[in-house]
Symmetry: C4
């Protein structure tokens, strides 16, 4: 919480506006309880429009609800920190994978929620399926509630390269983002506001789904 | 979240006080989680007392918890924006229908809640029925808890003209407002404060009802 | 929400500190969702120490989370407003009854919660019984968790004189306060801080009890 | 809530930074609802690095969400207040036990949650067992989600010396902290931020577990 003494400034090269958007996103996620302890991480692409650009991401081990601008560091597309000695979030490689695969994506959010954690741990199928939610329209390319959408579930793994390899073949067809079981959600969008909106929509749907299952405990989604 | 660069000012003709009430209502709804992503919308009648007046409504695609005054635009009673190029909320026509049908209504709120979304999706009857809540007294004309009140449920539809036509015959007898399945609530009142109070009362009752069903999973309300 | 134009000042005779404590209590209750719409009410005894004193209470029809000092008015022990034309909360008589019966009580809170509303509506017994909560120690005279305490439940009634008469014979033995079914809780204490602490403790216990019943739906408390 | 008149200043000897961290921790715990009424307590070790140091702890009977610096008092390792007449929290001895047993621990938090209270009251086994949560990594020495961790449950007791004696033999092997049934959690860490992170992680896991049991009511964790 709060400052915690002097920290080296890693902002070198990261525009203050980018760091500011990441800080604000962390505060918003904390407000919903999606970044408990030092969980969650947040990244943004920046740099020349049209180029692949550069990646700013939260560093490891800090509470995402109380970020300082200096908690945002730069990594390359392989997830390596540009300033030796700075340590990015554990799941940095997954952010890089998304930003590498989707040139139009500029913001990536990873958060934990109780509803998502629980559903992802109890669902035996390889995805959670949702049907008929108006909030589908918060996701790119969705113009109607009248659809059935899947949220892919991947087994948790502390080896990020291996996890990224498991996710890779599915990346192209994930209208809602994806979820790592017992761990958390990944969503992305062209702006930080749009990424936050998608995370809110996804978490709202997960909360609805959890409540629907409570009312019909045997109900699965597959 | 927040600003998001330069936006044209659409306030021409909308009193700042009206825009301010809409902005505050959005912040309050966000506090409760009823405007996830860019969901929900908010409108107010303004203009000469005694006349049909004019309609101010939130524009499309913005987060209702972080509205700027310039996110409030004017539409006519057919839901058409007065300033070409401004885009009102998708459900504008439903606001216009309510303000057209109830001359004493000056504020209309549309929000999404987890409890309402879930109940509206699982209830097979055409309405949710509630009985014995003290909070009934928050609704116009209700002087006692000792009543049984219906919240009509309408199937969701992306075609607003068609949806409005389905709702029209029921509008005259809706003490609590109405709900679109898997989508959200509509309430209205003579002031923004009164509309917010009704939405709070309705959502409280929906939350109670959801909990009652959790305790007796087979319980329906019809 | 917020001001709402000019209001007559009814503070005549009510110390600003007393009105301020009531305003703050309303904000705190709103933070927990216990004063939805215009529900809930708040009162304080003031005046000469040792005397029966005078009663300040919230007026009718305002949101208790957004009180102004001028929303606090004076009533006599029969619940009649001292300044003609001011209208106290509907349940004023219940506040007067408590302040009349307990000379050491100086603050009375009435709030609604989802957990309390639901439990009070579904419990067939005349009280909710709780056992083994550490939070019992927040209540006067309770030195241990190792007890079984009752929260009496009274049927809701819009006739306050009749409701007060039903409550009267039980007032002397209510360690936790009491609850009106489908309506809300009444707690009191020697200071506003202590009354708020009791309400928090009671609502925490009600929330626990609701969750325990969810896990064992057939579980009653009688 | 708030001040409450003149209070003697007990800060003599306690660095303002230490009191400030305790005050902020209380505000954060209140934000989550973990310090209802006057429940919960918070302590920190301070003084010469390398020495056993001294103990600052919240005094008894105040709301931990509204602490003033003067609500923080000093006790010795036997739990006795250094300034006669100041009264530390009831469970002070448990804080002293932890700070005595773990030289690297500098902050201890005790809070109540609905999920923890309920689970600790209904679980017949001597511990709650959790499996597969990414948030395990918030706890010292845990590098993976792929584990099964126990949260020991102890029967509540108003006799702190006796309770401390029951806990003592288990202290060395508690990766998540411990829980007193129907009462609350104890966690500790080398800094206040780390202790808060652990409490957040533990409560998140407890909330998940409560939800998992709701979906499968017969599910135990033993």
């Amino acid at each position: 919480m709060g400052g915690g003494g002097l920290r080296p400034t890693h902002l070198a090269g990261i525009p203050l506006g980018v760091a500011g958007e990441i800080v604000r996103a962390g505060q918003r996620m904390d407000r919903f309880g999606w970044v408990p302890a030092t969980a969650g991480n947040i990244s943004m692409r920046f740099g020349e429009p049209g180029s692949e650009g550069r990646i700013a991401i939260t560093r490891s081990g800090v509470h995402k609800g109380f970020l300082a601008a200096s908690d945002v560091i730069e990594v390359d597309f392989g997830g390596r920190p540009l300033i030796p000695g700075t340590r990015p979030s554990a799941e940095t490689l997954l952010h890089c994978q998304i930003l590498g695969a989707f040139p139009e994506a500029r913001a990536v959010l990873h958060g934990h929620s109780v509803a998502g954690t629980v559903l992802s741990m109890i669902e035996p199928a390889e995805a959670l399926y949702f049907e008929g939610y108006e909030l589908f329209k918060a996701f790119a390319g969705q113009a109607t509630h009248d659809a059935r959408l899947a949220l892919p579930l991947f087994p948790n793994d502390q080896d990020m390269a291996r996890l990224a390899a498991v996710i890779a073949p599915h990346l192209a067809a994930m209208p809602l983002g994806y979820y790592i079981r017992g761990h958390g959600a990944y969503v992305w969008a062209a702006t930080m506001d749009a990424a936050l909106a998608r995370l809110e929509a996804l978490e709202f749907i997960l909360e609805c789904e959890l409540n629907r299952r409570r009312l019909a405990p045997g109900r699965g989604s597959a």
